[in-house]
Symmetry: C2
Subunit: 409 residues, 2 copies
């Protein structure tokens, strides 16, 4: 069938993280690579209660075909939760998807023509690149600091683009416990972002799967909660607060966006698995989610603390890292010029893996970063793995790669 495939298949590539899953499945390797929640966070006893209820009630809707937009009861439960965070949500404007990843793909499908501009932070969640790959947008990167993306740079760039009569199709952000950077966008930057969206009429996609995993500091309002004019498309997920295996994510957004995404989803897979939707709905409405979150937060805080302490002890002086107040990741910056991708085989040989920072950049990557996940490995492995990684970093002489380029592309 050579030569018979569509041209767009040339742009399909595997993400670095997905490729790392094979290491995660080798029990002898300590993986800081995946974005996996801890298996200990899965509420198996609650699931037993939910399964039993669904079977006892012969809840046919859990097993049958269902509407493309999603189970109404789940959408109502989600809208209620979003309203409690200040988002003016309603069930009619919620679409349930197979993870937030599917929402990203559907957003690409309804918005993007080849060459359209998509604004991302540098670094950004790398699943956005695979989700949008076949739509071939051009990425415009905005650097970040400890307060999230630099909205003054964003403003400058939106203005410059507008002078050239260019307007990005959307701005993609992970404001809370950023993947991979581990930082949280400050309130003033959130306000600035919403203002820029309205001024330049550019939708913002707020990818928000981690906010419930806050173990330190005060909750921050979601960007969608500050939005008065309907420019924000808000994505949520049960993957980090229930279990990824049910594949339940959702989108809240303007009616025309949700309607077009629903039509696209109908062709893509008809509807999101009904069983997972029912489980998620019960998990919320029976109060199980609220009961479990404190336990998961405590678990992740402890793991983060262990990782930070081990890094203090074992990492070389010339490394820096973020100190997340929640979520699952932290972001390491090694000495300039050290290529973390080149280091990976050595680290894997010594029994520890991470994700090199390269894949999180649009355009030319900075080479001296790595993303470390602390939610998945257990505490002894975090101690051991960080010690090993510290050794690997310390031994490694400056490699031949050039010094890091500035973040913007």
């Amino acid at each position: 069938m050579k030569g018979r495939f569509a041209e767009r298949t040339r742009w399909l590539t595997a993400s670095d993280v997905r490729e790392l899953l094979k290491y995660a499945q080798n029990p002898r390797i300590i993986s800081f690579g995946g974005g996996l929640p801890s298996p200990d966070s899965f509420p198996l006893e609650d699931l037993r209660v939910i399964f039993e209820e669904l079977l006892r009630e012969k809840d046919v809707g859990a097993f049958q075909y269902g509407p493309t937009q999603g189970d109404l009861r789940l959408r109502e439960a989600l809208a209620t939760r979003m309203r409690a965070r200040g988002i003016r949500a309603e069930a009619g404007r919620v679409l349930v998807t197979h993870g937030a990843q599917q929402a990203l793909e559907l957003l690409g499908r309804i918005f993007l023509e080849e060459g359209d501009i998509v604004v991302v932070s540098q670094p950004t969640y790398l699943g956005i690149f695979t989700a949008l790959a076949t739509y071939r947008p051009g990425y415009h990167g905005i650097p970040m600091d400890e307060e999230g993306i630099l909205t003054d740079v964003l403003e400058e760039d939106l203005r410059a683009l507008a002078m050239d009569e260019l307007r990005p199709k959307f701005i993609y952000v992970v404001p809370t416990f950023h993947n991979p950077a581990g930082v949280t966008m400050s309130l003033r930057r959130r306000r600035a972002l919403v203002d820029l969206a309205a001024t330049y009429e550019v939708p913002v996609i707020e990818d928000d799967p981690y906010h419930e995993l806050r173990f330190e500091g005060d909750p921050m309002p979601p960007v969608a909660g500050l939005d008065k004019e309907g420019w924000v498309i808000h994505l949520g997920s049960f993957s980090k607060i229930l279990a990824p295996g049910f594949r339940i994510g959702w989108t809240f957004g303007p009616p025309e966006v949700v309607n077009k995404m629903s039509l696209a989803k109908q062709g893509a897979d008809l509807f999101t698995n009904a069983f997972g939707q029912r489980v998620a709905e019960r998990y919320v409405s029976l109060g199980m989610l609220e009961r479990n979150l404190p336990r998961v937060r405590t678990m992740y805080r402890e793991k983060r603390d262990v990782m930070l302490a081990a890094m203090e002890e074992h990492f070389p002086e010339d490394s820096r890292w973020t100190r997340p107040q929640g979520g699952m990741f932290l972001w390491v910056t090694t000495r300039p010029g050290l290529d973390t991708k080149g280091l990976l085989p050595t680290a894997a040989e010594r029994g520890v893996v991470y994700v090199a920072g390269h894949g999180f950049f649009a355009g030319k990557p900075e080479v001296n970063h790595m993303r470390l996940n602390y939610s998945f490995p257990n505490i002894p492995d975090i101690r051991r793995g960080i010690a090993t990684l510290g050794d690997v970093l310390a031994e490694k002489k400056r490699v031949k790669a050039p010094a890091a380029t500035p973040a913007r592309t």
Copy 2:
């Protein structure tokens, strides 16, 4: 956000069948419209056993992120079952998807450029149109009779296209218990189809979700089992033999097709819900599927028989219909010129709905068909609904629509 959407959104439309789901959820209306399995076919007691096992074993793989290609144990179980039907399958060439619908969308994505030719039967499963909508192929229709698509016409057309240096990207067929037509392709036509695929080097997509639901006649080898050169891409599904709510389908095909589909799936939704995959795997490997099928077949045969008998009694003389040996649908041809779509509001008012045949045709539809589903409604409803529908058909005078056009487009 008006004017900001991609041009491809113009081609997104809702399928007639999805729209009918709202009737199916109104308990006062008898629906022959959906493609829903009977809720009585869901093996709730087996599911109880499986859920209990997964929880007792703390089977983390059922809840965690998993590989894009699918759970290896499930792929092995599927390969074993396919080999038993004469398909030379292996787990490495199986991809698990969110229903076979997702496989159709992924196939469109990897194969189709705008204007590429896709060959379909007339009528054909209408989900193919929504799955491929944004890729904008041109459809070439081939008429059917009681033995499936007319392979002599197909040969003639492939030859004519080849003379114009045109070659379809693929031929899409539902050979066994065709949706919507209810007929099964004969062995000689299957052989002819495989030969044509090899001769003209055009892949065949064999969509095969119903074959286990045979309640009459001898099993037919799958088209993929007759394929010596690897031109057939075979799609299967658990939606009709376990439950649609888990959303588990699969593709077996040439390595380069499965690899490209996997890459596309990674961007689309990362992986198929792990819980549903584990449930499907246990359902097969614990022998539950084989134990349940006889019960489901008996149930559906009885429903078909009741529907056929009621049609004999109540439908007007000038109607004809197919007599399926399995599956979930039969296909009615009313007198020429009667427009079944125009009749639908009257029927719904009287308490019964069906799917008008129009949506199953590429190009200009024949207007005097309807698809009737017998797997979902219960037996008293089948009797009552068919009687009502017979009345509606008999009362209805010839409507203004022109006589049906020939099936080919």
